[in-house]
């Protein structure tokens, strides 16, 4: 037995003809607005450089994601650029190692184990995420404020096995510590799902009744499910916060039924990952030239509430965001 050869040259300074580049965007599925918008953003960028993006979805199935990646990497990888949303933290290492071995250019977003360093790799160009602790705290604070600084709240957690869910909840706990009058009555997982959030919220509403003054949800989908449950229970006095700024949540904020959310810009995320890969593959940007703090970084995010929601209702992609010299303009600093 022997190891299979493969992998590209160690040096990652690309010299690909732009026309030879294959752009791949991979997200969980196209049946949720955020990720669909992500892929559309990728398409926009691809169009910008006269290419098309191969859209891959793995239906939230880690195994399937790995399988797709390894099949992809078994093909022609010399000028392959991948912008990947790993399903969970633990899915990132094999993707990274596969890309490194095959010599494909990789940008990952959202999920990565804390102890995996991008700087240890040549083809893993960058990892982009939003500071979950920060967003969890921001909406936590907004929630505390909305209920007047004191009262009972419940929390809807995301898929327990993801960093995003854990970080966000950790941020919420920080916020709770800072607002001692706010009492966490219950926390349950609704797996980032609107339908599950609806059921869980209904149950918690009967369990705690009038004690509930606010609902903290780890994403907007769950917040929207909670809103639905509130409507069915005839409750209009409960503040709801979420994260992601999906269109429906923005509408709800505009209408005043929801309190706050935190932006994450799907279309930009879909484009920027490909842009970084493209710039490196064509040689316009050398890996060594990317600053260490731009190898794993927090992207800019905003707390959206009724005051500023109008600015976010239709996210715009500006071409300049994807210019090779402007790739890291949205950085809020290196991941801690």
């Amino acid at each position: 037995t022997e190891e299979v050869g493969g992998g590209g040259p160690a040096a990652a300074a690309g010299a690909c003809d732009p026309a030879d580049i294959t752009l791949v965007g991979q997200v969980r599925n196209e049946s949720n607005p955020y990720e669909a918008a992500w892929l559309d953003g990728g398409d926009t960028f691809a169009e910008q450089v006269g290419l098309t993006q191969q859209r891959l979805t793995y239906d939230g199935d880690s195994t399937r994601q790995q399988e797709q990646i390894s099949q992809l990497l078994a093909g022609d990888t010399e000028c392959l650029v991948m912008n990947v949303l790993p399903n969970g933290d633990s899915d990132t290492p094999p993707i990274v190692e596969g890309a490194e071995e095959a010599g494909a250019y990789l940008v990952t977003q959202w999920n990565k184990p804390a102890d995996l360093n991008v700087t240890d790799y040549d083809h893993w160009l960058s990892h982009i995420t939003y500071d979950g602790v920060e967003s969890g705290r921001q909406i936590g604070d907004a929630l505390a404020e909305a209920i007047g600084g004191s009262g009972g709240v419940i929390a809807l957690q995301g898929v327990l096995d993801t960093g995003a869910a854990k970080d966000r909840f950790a941020g919420f706990e920080e916020s709770l510590a800072a607002n001692p009058e706010v009492e966490l009555l219950d926390d349950q997982t609704a797996n980032f799902s609107r339908a599950e959030a609806l059921e869980v919220t209904k149950t918690l509403l009967t369990k705690h009744g009038e004690d509930i003054e606010g609902i903290w949800a780890a994403n907007d989908d769950m917040a929207l499910g909670a809103l639905e449950a509130l409507e069915q229970a005839g409750r209009t006095d409960v503040a709801v916060v979420g994260i992601d700024a999906v269109p429906d949540a923005l509408t709800a904020i505009e209408e005043g039924t929801m309190t706050a959310t935190v932006s994450s810009d799907g279309p930009w995320q879909g484009g920027i990952g490909l842009a970084i890969g493209y710039c490196v593959a064509t040689g316009e940007l050398a890996v060594e030239d990317i600053a260490d703090e731009d190898r794993a970084w927090f992207a800019e995010q905003f707390l959206i509430d009724q005051d500023n929601v109008a600015d976010f209702v239709s996210p715009e992609i500006t071409e300049s965001d994807f210019a090779c010299d402007n790739l890291f303009s949205r950085s809020q600093g290196a991941m801690s």
């Binding site: 609806l198 059921e199 705690h208």
Partner: protein, 337 residues
Amino acid sequence: MTSPADADLEVVHARRPRPRRGVSLRDAGPPVALVVVFGIFAALSPGFRTLSNVQNVLDAAAVLTVVTCGITFVLMMGSIDLSAPGIMGASAIAVALLVANNRNDNDYGLLGVVLAVLLGAGLGCLSGLALVTLKVPSFMTTLGISAVGLGVATLMFAGVQPNVSDRMLAGLAVERFLGLAHLTWIAFACVLVGWLVQRYSRLGRYAFAIGGAEEVLALSGVRVAPYKVAVFTMAGAFYGLAGVMVTSQLGAGLVQAGRGYDFSAIAAAVVGGTLLIGGRGGILHSAVGVLLVTVLTNGLVQVGVSPYWQGGVQGLIVVAAVAAAVIPQRRRNQVTK
């Protein structure tokens, strides 16, 4: 050589064991389990035994009840149906796009609901047809149809969430009658219809008979295939309705509207006493099963079991409930699949 007739001069009348008719003891397990589980939670949690929580449990059971109504007929035939997620997804998106919504100018109201249910029936019909014409086991045809349904739903979804602004549809989940949401009454109606179909229609009795001995039906000159297709079609219509109900609850059409309902519904039906090999059980059994499962989900949250453990505890209790229900009817040489 004596003929048997000569030998038997006397009329021999033996006392025979009385043939079974009507409700039997072996059906008592699941309802008893339901009462016991309910009692335990009521004792453990004050929040659980409130009237509003009972309403909440019934409301929460609505969608699963409708899905289970559909699946029960399929299980009664001894087939299996995994198509609920796909069909529900397709009908959920379809109805959201047909009634007043944020994506297009449609405003078909009730007609939209009917069309979505018909879409479900159509998809169900397809899996039935594949079963009887291609002779592919229902496990596979329905799994395939589920994938097809999800694909169709994703196509219709086209990246933008359709939100429902139709008052009637949105109102079904919100407005109440006698303390229960309209959707819950719809679920009750489905159970009633299902029960009538099961008991008084040829379709229902034949579905039952197909599970008992399909080959015998054929030997009696009954063409089984149309009934099978009809059962899958009916199941599809129930899933379609369930998809509409989810849309009404969420106020939006979701591709994942039916995620997980396939296994929950089968589990509920089986917990209620419907056998997977067919020929036993029925709508009322399944309704009890649905309640048992829903009470468990609700009760575990009410008594504050850690979310990590909830699934496990639920699984354990389901197994225990079935075991308790099975023990009184254990027989030697009983076939358990």
